[in-house]
Symmetry: C2
Subunit: 359 residues, 2 copies
């Protein structure tokens, strides 16, 4: 059976402004000291389990040049540009169409975000190999859960029930998906031992997921069939435009996962972080003895628990706490940690002021 | 009787880093929206009471080009460069030597800082005219006090006793000078009605102050006599170097004012501020409805009581409070309001790191 990977790389990543811009979102940034971008890391860690020519990247047309630049080994026909963003369900249908045309509906798809971070690559590939086996076993939809290490309120959770069966050790039937909890609930989830973080990584055969599209999203299934017909031909682009024009915006979680049967999960413990805001930098990088994460030319005095990303000039931080400072060539953010989820407000203000050059 | 002004412009102004540098201290900066520098404002407000050729500027040799540039009307022989900084007493002796040589010991000197701000120029000139009259009247040393408007803990205070006499309405004999008080004491001072802020502005005849030098700082008085001998001649520079080499560092406050008789004060109410730290910007400029003082290209969201000075790039402040942000071409300060008196720590760190280009 063919194993493929589908990398979802259409995200705008507004939460990393001013480093991320609409023309240069988070997946194309390097947020670690090794200089590799998020999407480069995503691809690199997959290579032990999937061939380069079987990695497909679904993205926005505007980002195709960036992908060519950062990932020159990915065949250009594997870069699938959506005419318009319609959330994850249409994105997956598009990739499924191309893969089933190129191979067949038995091919396994690992569907993966392009902008998450993983600390332990080997544990990751082990987990993914396991997930692929479960996916191959039948009409299973496998969602990769993450063993929670603290009561995070920024993630969705997966509640699992009993172990699947003897043949599938470490694999659990999913009871339900739950939204981002409040602090108290998150603590309960953590203590119960029955919940995993929802990583947004999925593994299934094309047939498994498309049968569920047929059942729960029949319009999109029609689109899938049409796209599959013209995939890898000259008229694909046109079909794509027509299909996406008609697709409504729909997430795979809401459209399929919360409704389907045969959902399994396995618990990954590979140091995963969704890098959802500037706060992630202090989780994924080393901090100094005052709890500061600092990069670039920075002097910090009486400064604690802060994230400071310098650019070309010296930044002197004096007596500040729990603050985020990010300098770039044309814009600088100074933000309290409590407001990291509101960086979008800056972008909205910039839109209002018609400062599109800075968005 | 000749009326002269002596502007003390040798200060380093480290508290305004990164805008102020050792090569460009506070008195040469513009901190208000009108674009005039502190020293330009100081000179301008004096013109109704003193002729340009009677304004003397005592400064550091390195700042002479800046003074020529910012104050082209001041005769170059009136710019008195100290070979080395020795605090205010030697600075005043030097100016006194030149003035008494050029005119005589009856000449009145208004001794003034170069980097303070005054809101109401007319009230200021009225007060200074009054002070000059008192100084002319005898061997009086006049210190200009400021009617306190709130319990400031960052200023020294002057305690005054009874009104001088009928001829000198509004003039008070000084009881004593007191150091920067704690909050509680400052409140008591304010409520008592017997205390004024010590502005560091003095008015006296050359003879009045030099007789006190003779009494309390006899070594410096000797230096004064030597400097006066060669003042306005070719060998002045050499004498100056010798005298300053021998002078110890001494403030006029400690060396003379706290010991002398005949100290008078009058209470100015002309909107004075010593602009002692970045905090002054919100006192001397208009703030927005959230209490922020903002200059340059700045977006502030959920941001309160902050001082933000942009430079060439956009600064977006999100969810921060009581913070000071100052951007310049090569360095940026982000500082809590509580730490404004510790900006020198940054300069010390820069010295330690041998980053002299940024000091």
């Amino acid at each position: 059976m063919k194993i493929t990977a589908v990398i979802m790389a259409g995200g705008k990543g507004e939460r990393f402004w001013p480093k991320s811009r609409s023309s240069y979102p988070k997946q194309f940034l390097s947020l670690t000291s090794d200089g590799e971008t998020m999407i480069q890391k995503t691809i690199k860690r997959l290579l032990p389990i999937v061939d380069t020519e079987d990695i497909f990247i679904v993205t926005n047309e505007n980002y195709v040049p960036l992908i060519n630049e950062q990932l020159p080994d990915i065949p250009s026909e594997n870069i699938l540009a959506e005419p318009v963003a319609r959330n994850t369900a249409p994105c997956i249908a598009l990739a499924a169409a191309v893969i089933s045309k190129k191979y067949n509906e038995d091919a396994v798809m690992m569907v993966l975000p392009s902008d998450h971070l993983i600390k332990y690559d080997e544990l990751y590939t082990d987990t993914m190999r396991h997930a692929v086996k479960v996916a191959m076993k039948g009409e299973n939809l496998v969602t990769v859960g993450i063993t929670p290490t603290y009561p995070e309120t920024g993630y969705g959770y997966i509640k699992f029930c009993s172990a699947a069966d003897e043949d599938m050790a470490g694999v659990y039937k999913v009871d339900k998906f739950v939204e981002k909890p409040c602090r108290e609930t998150a603590k309960e989830y953590l203590n119960s031992g029955r919940y995993l973080w929802n990583s947004g990584m999925f593994v299934w055969k094309v047939s498994s997921i498309m049968n569920n599209f047929k059942k729960f999203l029949p319009d999109m299934y029609e689109g899938y069939l049409r796209m599959r017909e013209t995939a890898l031909t000259g008229s694909f682009r046109e079909t794509l435009a027509e299909c996406f024009e008609n697709f409504r915006s729909e997430s795979i979680d809401f459209g399929i996962m919360e409704k389907a049967e045969n959902i399994y999960t396995l618990s990954g413990s590979f140091g995963w972080d969704d890098v959802g805001s500037w706060l992630a930098l202090e989780k994924i990088n080393k901090t100094d003895e005052c709890g500061n994460y600092v990069s670039g030319d920075v002097i910090s005095i009486d400064t604690n628990r802060s994230i400071i990303c310098g650019n070309k000039k010296l930044i002197a931080a004096l007596g500040v706490e729990d603050i985020i400072i990010v300098d770039t060539d044309d814009a600088m953010l100074i933000c309290s940690k409590e407001h990291t989820q509101q960086v979008k407000k800056v972008i909205e203000t910039l839109k209002t002021c018609n400062r599109r050059d800075l968005i």
